[in-house]
Every structure is written in structure tokens, then in C-alpha cells.
């Protein structure tokens, strides 16, 4: 996968979490994931088309997403409820948008669909292209989350 993709999603994720949830995530080393099992407890998935096609997933551990959404809404969240799932969808949407803005600056115009959210321990993430995907792990003071990207240039590279 093109390194421009990694940097765009990494930077876009940090921007969104800092600005909307006042959380300062630390990125770990990216690695290849070959199965479809989510790394977190709740995930948002969004399809991408245009100069690059595939999908992006954000997968959060429960303590991490509860802190993120509590900060966003100014209300303590105790469990992965409807409000939290809604927030995961919007966070996925915003990370997609922030990353696509950075990709556009690299000459890649990419559009996005409306995100879906799945939850539960060991749930699956179904990427549009089927996988494998690149995982960018992040740590926060409240636990980990993962950016899971499966994307290819529309010309096949």
C-alpha cells in the first residue's frame, strides 16, 4: 500500500481525536493484518472510491471509546450504547474526511460512503477489497484503538 495512505490516515486520526475529543493519541508501528477480526470492541467502517478505492475502519477498545465520547459530549459514558456507536460512526466519517483532504493535496481525489458501525468482542471487519489490511495501532491514556486500512490506487498500484 502507498505510504501516502498511511500518513494521511495517521495524521487525520490524530487531528480528529485531538480537536473533537481532547485526546492525544500516540501512534505505534504499522503492521499487516491478514484476518478479518477487529482489534477493538466497537468499529466504524467506511467505503472509499475515486483515485483510490477500498475501506477504512476505526476499531476502539471499550475504555478508549468511552473516554473519547465522554469528552466529545461532555457526558460520562458507561457502556457501548447507541450514543457511543453513533459517535464511532461520526469519528470514522471525520477521520475519512481529514485523511481525504490530505490525499487530495497529494493529487488523489477520494470520495466516501456513509459509515457503518459494528460492535462486540471478536466482531468482524469486512473490507471492500477483502484484505489484507494495514493496522496502525494507537495508544491513549484510556486504552488502545486501531486504524485498519485496506486501500489501493484505482489504477491498481
Amino acid at each position: 500500500m502507498d505510504v501516502r495512505f498511511i500518513n494521511a490516515f495517521l495524521d487525520g486520526t490524530v487531528d480528529v481525536l485531538k480537536m473533537m475529543a481532547f485526546v492525544d493519541p500516540r501512534a505505534g508501528k504499522a503492521y499487516l493484518k491478514k484476518d478479518g477480526v477487529a482489534k477493538g470492541d466497537v468499529s466504524g467502517v467506511i467505503g472509499l472510491t475515486g483515485a483510490a478505492r477500498g475501506s477504512l475502519a476505526l476499531s476502539f477498545s471499550e475504555p478508549c471509546i468511552l473516554k473519547v465520547v465522554s469528552n466529545m459530549l461532555g457526558e460520562e459514558q458507561a457502556s457501548i450504547n447507541g450514543d457511543v456507536k453513533d459517535a464511532v460512526g461520526e469519528l470514522t466519517n471525520m477521520v475519512s474526511g481529514a485523511a481525504r483532504k490530505k490525499l487530495e493535496a497529494e493529487g488523489l481525489s477520494v470520495t466516501a460512503a456513509i459509515p457503518t458501525v459494528v460492535s462486540g468482542g471478536g466482531h468482524s471487519i469486512r473490507h471492500v477489497l477483502g484484505g489484507p489490511s494495514i493496522i496502525i495501532p494507537f495508544e491513549t491514556e484510556s486504552g488502545p484503538f486501531f486504524v485498519d486500512v485496506c486501500l489501493t490506487l484505482a489504477n491498481g498500484s
Binding site: D15, V16, K18, M19, M20, V69, M72, L73, G74, D83, D86, A87, G89, E90, N93, M94, S96, G97, A98, R100, K101, E104, S109, T111, A112, I114
Partner: protein, 125 residues
Amino acid sequence: MMDKGLKILIVDDFATMRKVIRNILKQIGYENIVEAEDGAIGLRILKSQKIDLIVCDWNMPNMTGLELLKAVRADDDLKATPFLMVTAEALQENVVAAVKAGVSNYIVKPFTAETLNDKIQKILG
């Protein structure tokens, strides 16, 4: 000094973002807020009550923010209503489309409370 009694319509399919924007507006001092979860519902509200400012997402089911903006600008009774697009859609072609359709201002998510406040003051000032 802005009129804090102005009625503001927030249109976004994500309840989270409606709540985030509502919280910021309340911090600024705006308490008279109504919400819609897509453009079609937003348009029904606009036709049934006086709204002083529309704060609207782009990507929504049923009627997008751009479609709502075009409908508002095509309606003699609504066309003067200030329209702030708050969206993750930062692609240049989208910004141009919104400007051509008559958007009053444009905010790209993620955003800070200060940015939202500044844009609203510029529109209403």
C-alpha cells in the same frame, strides 16, 4: 452584540455531532436550537417555523446538505436564511459546489469551538 435569542437549526444525521454543535452553541449563549436528522426533515422545519441560522452537515440520507442548501436558496421565503455548512467534505470541488449554491460559510470537521463561534459571528455580524 449578537442576538442570543436567534433560532438555530442543526441538521446532521449523527446525533453525536448535533449534540457537539448544540453544546458549543449553548456555551456561546444560543439556547433556541432545533434539530433535524437529514435535509428533508430540516426543510419541513424551515417551512413550518422561522429559523435565523442553519448549521448543516453535507452527507446525509434522504436529502444531503447541498440539496437542502439549493432548496433553501430556491425558496423565496427561505432564501435569505444564513447557511453554515459543517462537514467532513473538504474536497475542493465540494467547497466550490457549496459556494456556487450560495452557502454563507463553510467549516471542515474536525473543528474547534472557537472556529464555529468565529464563523457564526461572521455570518450574523
